[in-house]
Point group: C2
């Protein structure tokens, strides 16, 4: 597998900084830090900061991440801070390193940050130096919105693994198992396959399963220990990431025999998804995709039961641009990756939503999640 082009990405940011007269950028968001440096920690309660200067990319990291960063981070220098008594005369917080670096820049220096994720106290600290703090978050968002071939390779693997997982969970549907047990059948199978086919790689996953009329009416709920019962409609979300790159795969299914009305609602959701998938192509606006799918529900008299957009981008983050929302004028381009997941939630009848992860190519789009969508495959 070809590595990700961290150096090229940093060069793009540096050029942008030069155009904007920005001397130093401080990257806070973990996904953005991974995108630029290749380094990701499990937890950031000990802050980790990526700094980009004219000729360097550097990390400020806690001592317990030093060996990890030496192995994984594609950076020029590590600034390590310590939390050990006898090293307590050296730097003991990220701020010690940051202050030393900031002191080299005169008041009025333009400093780049992500205004949407930098905590306010860090913003205030930067401002106390008299710096002009400017946003570069939108630039990184823009870069991340177009996936390169190496990212798409990872996404496709994630998509394939998600199909395996969803299939295995569905093989185990029965009255009396809980939502969480249902999820875990898929997890275990997924990890078995991934361990065999992709040695020494990172696989992550998440699920949520909303079972029964009442719970499925709520689009986003953590899976619980509620047990499947006869007559349940179930909305199952299966997410898998491969070396950080995420695919989402969601299916609505029935435990026992649904009413004709319920079947019609699932068919309608499938039709709305199909309409969006067929319509989408480079050059149209994000909002047009939402419109096409929403009209399917509206014409059938169910427009009032739509409470979310038709899809969202994904990649390193669970939700990212492009947001396929009724008011997003963004023009869709080749290399964008997003979900198509129109849903309706009808009180007393339950929730209905499939979600697939789709890549936009020159000529149209293709789904990297392929588990069958038709109702005959979703009756248990």
């Amino acid at each position: 597998m070809i590595g990700l082009n961290f150096t090229g990405r940093t060069q793009v940011i540096r050029q942008y900084m030069e155009e904007k007269g920005i001397k130093l950028s401080l990257i806070w968001d973990p996904d953005n830090q991974y995108y630029l440096s290749g380094f990701r920690a499990i937890i950031y309660s000990r802050p980790i900061v990526t700094l980009i200067r004219e000729s360097l990319i550097e990390l400020i990291i806690p001592g317990l991440e030093e060996a990890h960063a030496r192995e994984k981070a594609n950076v020029d220098h590590l600034h390590v801070y310590h939390e050990q008594l006898d090293k307590g005369k050296q730097e003991i917080s990220y701020q010690d390193h940051l202050t030393e670096i900031l002191n080299k820049y005169p008041s009025g220096t333009r400093v780049g940050v992500e205004l949407g994720s930098l905590p306010s106290n860090v913003y205030l600290y930067l401002s106390s130096f008299g710096f002009e703090v400017v946003d570069i978050g939108n630039k990184i968002t823009q870069m991340r919105t177009i996936k390169d071939p190496e990212e798409i390779e990872r996404l496709k693997i994630a998509g394939k693994l998600s199909d395996h997982a969803i299939g295995e969970s569905l093989k185990n549907v029965r009255v009396g198992i809980s939502e969480l047990e249902f999820d875990s059948y898929g997890d275990q199978f997924l990890l078995e396959i991934a361990s065999r086919e992709y040695p020494d790689e990172l696989i992550g996953y998440a699920n949520w399963t909303c079972s029964g009329i009442k719970r499925s009416e709520m689009p986003h709920l953590y899976s619980s220990t509620r047990k499947f019962a006869a007559g349940d409609v179930v909305v199952h979300s299966r997410q898998v990431w491969f070396n950080g790159y995420r695919a989402e795969n969601e299916r609505t299914f029935f435990v026992g025999t649904p009413s004709d009305k319920q079947k019609d609602l699932l068919k309608l959701a499938i039709e709305a998804q199909q309409a969006a998938m067929e319509h989408i192509r480079p050059g149209i606006t994000a909002k047009e995709v939402d419109y096409v799918s929403y009209q399917v529900f509206k014409k059938a008299g169910y427009g009032d039961y739509v409470n979310h957009r038709v899809g969202h981008g994904l990649g390193l983050s669970e939700h990212e641009e492009p947001y396929l929302r009724f008011d997003n004028e963004l023009i869709l381009e080749e290399g964008m990756v997003y979900t198509i997941e129109p849903g309706i939630y009808v009180p007393g009848l339950g929730g209905y939503r499939h979600s697939d992860t789709v890549i936009l190519s020159k000529t149209g789009s293709f789904s990297i999640t392929e588990y069958p969508r038709e109702i005959e495959h979703l009756l248990f």
Copy 2:
């Protein structure tokens, strides 16, 4: 199970606001929002805000969370924003609601926020109204640091479940299974027990497993598809949360026969943990606990291989106060909950760390994670 005292918590914040002349508080951190309102979403890419005014606690939420919030949120009012074409003439973002509320307050009003988690762009927006923005994050942190009996009940269940999970994973240790497969045995067993014993509850879990000399030298790594090999030392972290409240349970074990040197290192880590557990009691400082445990390593000549504090608080967050760190002067009190997890990481010999979750009571402390710590239970 007795419910959590959301109303009482809000009253404490309101009284604090009154003392400080704060008219309105805007809570951004998801764990803090859950602590005060009882509402938690899976994802916050559509922002959710908790507002506390003199007589009201309110949520600003997206349409897809409305039914969920009506069921779970202990608040006086919901402000719902929409992402559906035909509702697009109403509020379409959290800012629409926020602006309407903020417009009711004159310039100079004191507004409470968590400066450590509020994004800078929201801070700047509040400042644009001429408000005096002040931190209330430390007050909420302080409240959350002392657990009440209802929180401790949830933590104990999480601790018990984590013991079951770690035991099941360890039953399945063998050469050739991957770190992720090892984790998943514990997950599946945990979910089976939890589904049987605690119907209709939320269970969450996370693991990371660092296997082999080289990987175990790095304290925090995501589990991978690396397969266990004979001669591995493995540091396994098992975390379980029950209705949001987290226990951490970590064990170091051996696949095959360790060298005498390796056995000594694990015994040393166990001794350091024991020393801290025996020393801790209400009235001492957090740093004293770190000192006691660090001295065990130092006297044995391994002080240089310590790269993290002896423990951290936990509860709704994975890491929270009290941080048991060499420079933390915080006085420990009854009701605090924290890990005790001294570790050493020796190049060429691997990493050694057990972690237990401990509750501080009037008379001392007790661990809510009880899986055997002695080396004879950790040889496979």
